[in-house]
């Protein structure tokens, strides 16, 4: 088997994640989709690391995870506070930006 298949897997997961962002309405699921996309890219990075024989790819993947963690913390906090005021976790209910 060619390790390139990991890249194909990564591409597939990324696409699924992206479609999820576009299709799902629940803000939490949306976030999960984003996480999936990040993970997909991490997989690609790790594969690249293996391809080049250096560890830099893994480092970047590591940083990605950290950033993802930070993002999730803040993002979920935002979701919670939005839910408090709007009683809804649907992103379609927060559409005041059009004004």
């Amino acid at each position: 088997m060619n390790p390139v298949n990991y890249l194909y897997l990564s591409a597939l997961l990324f696409t699924i994640g992206a479609s999820g962002v576009l299709i799902r309405r629940n803000a939490i699921v949306l976030f999960m989709c984003v996480e999936l996309m990040l993970n997909a890219s991490n997989l690609a990075l790790v594969t690249f690391s293996r391809m080049h024989g250096t560890l830099d790819g893994q480092i970047i993947a590591f940083f990605t995870m950290v950033v993802a963690a930070a993002e999730v913390v803040v993002g979920l906090a935002i979701i919670v506070s939005i839910f408090r005021t709007r009683h809804s976790a649907s992103v379609d209910d927060s559409n005041l930006m059009k004004l």
Binding site: I16, L22, M32, S49, V72
Partner: protein
């Protein structure tokens, strides 16, 4: 949790071995191939599950599965540390956080299947397909025939190798990441924290306020109907047979988790009267309709937010906290 770790440790050894083996060739061993295909099916299945499940909890669980599969993939590719971190941080911490929030905002609330934005779903699928095709085409076109393998880089072990890089070349980024994490933590606190701008009201003041506002002077009605249904999600019935929504706690109302038994109760009462009438021998013209006198009273929709709109916002707010 411990089980997972143990399993991961086993796989690590295995993956390291296969990785070393494959390094020379540019193709992988059959073992890794088998492993990959199994994991790939799990990962994609999990991802699709996440995408398609209507309930957030299910989505979260599916995602967790995908992440575990990915963690194994990392290990198989010689990124042992990352694989562990993936399981500990992602599956362990982040996904738990997700689940907490899901529980907080309504575990059973589902996305309705009806798409509100015209053409959104179709366009999204189209874009996704197009993007996928592009990515695949890109990868296929790239010259990726040579794999160096990590045997050299991981010569003194994966963790020391990473550490060497993190604390030398990437130390600045590492520090900044730390700052980012701190900031994120503080941000989360700030976002979710509610400042009391004035001292909390005492019970007396609240009572006075209620009198002044002329809202719900007596205590709220208790939930439960007769002795039959005494669960907190069963609203009490008003004298006319309709439900008293106030009798259910606000969080349940918010989630639409009110179990409406009024119809059943009415039906039962009618039966009771009928049997009483039978027993007394009354003519049938005087008997009430068994079908129930209040057709109009529909059960509260499962995920409707009618309850949230609330009879009055004040009590809703109080219950929410």
């Amino acid at each position: 949790m411990t089980g997972q770790l143990a399993a991961a440790a086993v796989t690590t050894d295995l993956a390291a071995a296969t990785g070393r083996l494959a390094a020379a060739a540019g193709a992988t061993s059959t073992g890794e191939a088998v492993q990959f295909w199994v994991l790939a099916v799990i990962a994609v299945g999990g991802a699709l599950g996440m995408l398609l499940m209507r309930k957030a909890v299910h989505s979260a669980l599916c995602l967790a599965a995908t992440m575990m599969a990915l963690a194994v993939c990392y290990m198989a590719q010689g990124a042992v540390f990352l694989g562990v971190v993936q399981i500990v941080v992602y599956t362990g911490a982040i996904m738990m956080l997700f689940l907490f929030v899901v529980m907080l905002v309504g575990v059973t609330s589902e996305d309705s299947l009806k798409e509100q934005l015209k053409g959104q779903r179709f366009a999204a699928v189209l874009c996704g397909l197009g993007f996928g095709v592009l990515l695949v085409a890109g990868i296929a076109n790239a010259r990726l025939d040579h794999f160096t393998g990590l045997s050299e880089a991981n010569a003194e072990g994966n963790v020391p190798g990473l550490a060497r890089l993190i604390f030398t070349r990437y130390v600045w980024a590492f520090e900044v990441t730390g700052a980012l994490l701190i900031t994120a933590a503080i941000g989360a606190m700030v976002l979710t924290h509610r400042e009391h701008v004035k001292p909390p009201k005492t019970q007396r003041e609240l009572a006075a306020q209620r009198v002044k506002d002329n809202i719900q002077l007596p205590p709220l009605p208790a939930p439960g109907v007769y002795a039959r249904h005494n669960a907190v999600d069963v609203p009490g019935l008003l004298p006319d047979g309709t439900i008293a929504e106030d009798s259910v706690m606000a969080t349940l109302r918010e989630r639409g988790q009110i179990r409406d038994v009024s119809q059943a109760m009415l039906r039962r009462m009618a039966e009771l009267e009928n049997s009483t009438a039978d027993w007394l021998g009354r003519p049938s013209s005087e008997r009430p309709e068994v079908a129930g006198p209040r057709k109009s009273l529909e059960p509260v929709p499962a995920n409707g937010k009618a309850g949230a709109a609330g009879k009055d916002g004040a009590t809703g707010e109080e219950g929410d906290e």
